[in-house]
Symmetry: C2
């Protein structure tokens, strides 16, 4: 692992943007500082950061993967497949599962962000009630 300037810029960017950014948004921001940077370099840099556990990558169901800096503790998301609502889940419960899996399999888990798809309470009700004519 070497000191990559793109890695550094991405970390700085994601540190202040407490949000889910896709590769295109990240690419556009980086170009303000490194106008000649290539998209594939951004992808490779993001890969590295994810593998280091510094950044999380998730498919939230919007056509592109989104990235986020891992800070202030882990968290996870619940996404409604009907209405798109997104809930945040604290790491506490997930942590117990990860610990068990790490012990049983002697693995060091790097994945730090789960996205669980499902149906929210509201949409469940809609689906089970008779449709209106």
């Amino acid at each position: 692992m070497r000191n990559s300037s793109v890695d550094k810029i991405i970390i700085e960017l994601l540190s202040k943007e407490h949000a889910h950014l896709n590769s295109q948004q990240i690419y556009n921001e980086i170009r303000k500082q490194l106008p000649a940077v290539n998209q594939s370099t951004v992808y490779r840099s993001l890969d590295r950061l994810v593998k280091q556990g510094l950044v999380s990558v998730s498919d939230m169901g919007t056509g592109s993967s989104v990235y986020e800096k891992v800070q202030d503790g882990y968290h996870h998301h619940l996404v409604c497949q009907k209405c798109g609502e997104i809930l945040t889940i604290e790491h506490q419960e997930v942590e117990k599962l990860f610990n068990v899996i790490e012990m049983k399999n002697r693995y060091k888990i790097i994945t730090n962000h789960l996205v669980l798809f499902g149906i929210c309470e509201h949409c469940q009700k809609i689906a089970s009630s008779p449709s209106v004519k």
Copy 2:
């Protein structure tokens, strides 16, 4: 939801192929029966099946998503980011987590396959030992 011929063929295919197939492999198989089928139709059909919970989709770290029919109970995977080793995790432990999340958030979880990336025992040892010259 309607009776889609492509959906049916995919289900039949995945029912006998107890394996992780990517969209290209699925597309090639379908063309044997439906030579004129379009790739986007395959993608949309897979989306539907995943949303219905009949099929699982996962990014196992190989440039494309892989699909699998949900049968004989759920299972999950642990993938080593160094050597690529893949371990299977039974649903039992994961189920407890899902139940808690469903109750707390009143969601019906549809996600039926987790892929957790990490470092296997072997690769952890390699990383921590002094490198050979």
